[in-house]
């Protein structure tokens, strides 16, 4: 049992990444700690915090999830998916924007919701849940603006230069949206135990987390039809994260948070994506062996 963190770190090294993981048995409280308190840049993982804050506001009556929002093409936050990739005006409900934000990591949908909810409300919601090391300092549009600025005239191509990577503010947890693996499993545990919101809102959050389309990270570690995996990824140059929950048919539920940095600056690295699943599985197997 004690060698589980060593096995996890060996799997990270084998895949050419540095990684930090925390896994939590949602019902017993048993944990696996492989760098659980490492401050890490959240990137799109912070969309989970935004979703929880959105539902808290709705539960308090501060907004109606069916409320319609306008998304004109001009001024949309850039991104390769969802509203961020669409060309024409869109009108949709807050909760459908929330679905796009979680299912395909839609940056435009996330910033529309952030404009409605506010960064302060997101931080306040996380503090209230006892997440002392989770903090958002900018919107997704502002986050990408720092990358554009730090990358300089070379644009996206400059992001394969290690020299450029070392100066990106977006990769420094002290200067961007941040959390720790332990804070994220704490949040997922609260959502799954209906402690973060009312059961009705908890179920809505769990539903969209289960609709994420990406198969290449955490889900790849659980190639079992009878295991349900829900999660949210986060990615930036050299940074690959996912936080999620694996649910087994015997009732076992495990929250896992994995944050990694790749050695290679290349954008396409399938092994680095897959090791998030490998590491999560090592942790969940170890937690299940304890029962």
């Amino acid at each position: 049992m004690t060698d589980t963190p060593a096995r996890i770190h060996a799997a990270f090294a084998e895949a050419g990444v540095t990684g930090w993981l925390h896994a939590l048995d949602i019902d017993s409280g048993a944990q696996i700690d492989a760098g659980a308190d490492q401050p890490a840049c959240t990137a799109s993982v912070h969309k989970l915090c935004l979703l929880v804050a959105l539902h808290e506001l709705a539960a308090e009556g501060g907004l109606d999830l069916a409320e319609q929002i306008e998304c004109p093409p001009a001024g949309r936050t850039a991104g390769p998916t969802g509203l961020a990739a669409m060309l024409d005006p869109v009108r949709m409900s807050l909760r459908d924007a929330g679905y796009l934000m979680m299912a395909v990591s839609d940056n435009a949908a996330a910033d529309l919701l952030l404009r409605r909810v506010g960064l302060d409300a997101v931080n306040h919601a996380m503090n209230r849940l006892g997440l002392t090391r989770t903090h958002a300092v900018h919107t997704f549009g502002e986050l990408f603006a720092t990358i554009r600025e730090d990358a300089g005239p070379g644009g996206a191509r400059a992001l394969t230069d290690p020299h450029v990577i070392t100066r990106l503010r977006a990769l420094d947890p002290a200067r961007t949206n941040r959390s720790t693996p332990r804070d994220m499993t704490h949040l997922l545990g609260a959502v799954w135990r209906d402690e973060a919101c009312t059961p009705e809102h908890g179920a809505a959050i769990r539903r969209v987390l289960g609709l994420q389309v990406w198969p290449h990270r955490m889900a790849s570690g659980f190639p079992f039809d009878d295991v349900h995996v829900a999660g949210k990824t986060g990615s930036l140059p050299t940074l690959r994260n996912e936080v999620g929950v694996a649910e087994y048919p015997d009732g076992g539920r495990y929250a896992v948070a994995v944050f990694t940095r790749t050695a290679n600056t290349a954008a396409t690295l399938p092994a680095a994506d897959a090791v998030i699943g490998t590491a999560a599985r090592i942790a969940v197997d170890a937690l299940r062996a304890r029962q």
Partner: protein
């Protein structure tokens, strides 16, 4: 009261929400941990945790103090590191490293050039792999070094990234040996000899990916590093290896030497493969001596190893799962 030690206990219990696990984390027994928390609470006049028979939860007051405790601990660590650095600086020592593949001529050039750029500090030069250098940066046992990319550059400052182009080592009698430049795709009938993957998984994968992208997917990859072992495999086992020009002995570099070892080095067409180096040092710990070493090593790599600035030439197609767009 040793405040630092007590604050370490406070933070550990806050993070683990459990005395037993916190004690395990700290490598101490539970009773002295409980006593320390109680003593800290008495000293501060603040209750930090609510304890029930099964659970420990941090109080509102504890939450307010936690961030400050973490800052104090980080400050303490930084303070001790600075003291170590000043102590070592007083002894006038710069602890520097080069990776084992740097050729003798380059090493000699660095050693000769450094004192010209920075009189005073003595240069203690080590031969260390990139992984060893990163570990020593983290433990404050190394000031500066020449590393290989790709590697995790978190927390580092870098000098310019330089490319040392790789050529292919093949039998003199091979058809491709007669070419001025060898296309990777012409090596398909040969196995490849490479360093063991565990030494640098990211670099290993990067080399094989670049080979595949350029039409060379070896049927087998054999692992070896020693010059004699590698040459033996090239001569008798239908295999080739890669290496930079500057690291080859004269008889391997020169096509016209008849009494050579039977192995010849040829450049690769389009120079698709390279070792990529830069000088690296921990963020915020650069000083005049580090800058002088960086300048000396960069200059030596340029002049003795033919290293050139690394400019990304290839197009980059981000896929939707990248989640960002510039």
């Amino acid at each position: 009261m040793d405040l630092v030690r007590h604050l370490e206990c406070f933070v550990a219990v806050a993070e683990q929400s459990h005395f037993g696990r916190a004690a395990e984390h700290l490598g101490m027994a539970q009773p002295p941990l409980s006593q320390r928390i109680q003593r800290l609470e008495r000293e501060l006049g603040v209750r930090l945790f609510e304890r029930t028979s099964r659970q420990v939860t941090i109080t509102e007051a504890g939450t307010l103090l936690l961030a400050g405790a973490r800052e104090l601990l980080a400050g303490h660590e930084e303070f001790m590191a600075t003291a170590r650095r000043i102590r070592d600086g007083e002894t006038g020592l710069l602890r520097a490293a080069l990776s084992p593949d740097i050729a003798d001529e380059t090493v000699a050039a660095v050693l000769a050039d450094f004192p010209r750029r920075q009189a005073g500090p003595e240069l203690e030069l080590h031969e260390l792999s990139t992984a060893q250098q990163l570990a020593r940066f983290a433990s404050h046992d190394l000031d500066v070094g020449v590393i290989h990319h790709p590697c995790d550059v978190t927390g580092l400052e870098l000098g310019p990234v330089l490319r040392r182009e790789l050529g292919v080592l093949l039998p003199r009698g091979a058809a491709a040996a007669a070419l001025d430049e060898v296309p990777l795709a012409s090596l398909t009938e040969y196995d490849l000899i490479l360093f063991p993957r565990s030494h640098a998984p990211a670099l290993y994968d990067d080399l094989l990916t670049t080979c595949a992208r350029n039409g060379y997917t070896p049927a087998a990859v054999r692992h070896g590093q020693g010059a004699g072992f590698v040459r033996g495999l090239i001569l008798s086992a239908g295999a080739v290896a890669f290496g930079p020009y500057d690291a080859q002995p004269a008889d391997v570099r020169d096509r016209d030497t008849e009494n050579g070892s039977g192995v010849i080095w040829r450049p690769l067409a389009g120079a698709p493969l390279a070792w990529r180096h830069s000088v690296a040092w921990p963020k915020g710990r650069g000083d005049a001596a580090v800058s002088a070493f960086a300048a000396a090593a960069t200059h030596a790599l340029r002049t003795t190893a033919g290293a050139r600035a690394d400019a990304p030439q290839r197009p980059l197609h981000l896929r939707p799962a990248s989640e960002y767009w510039l």
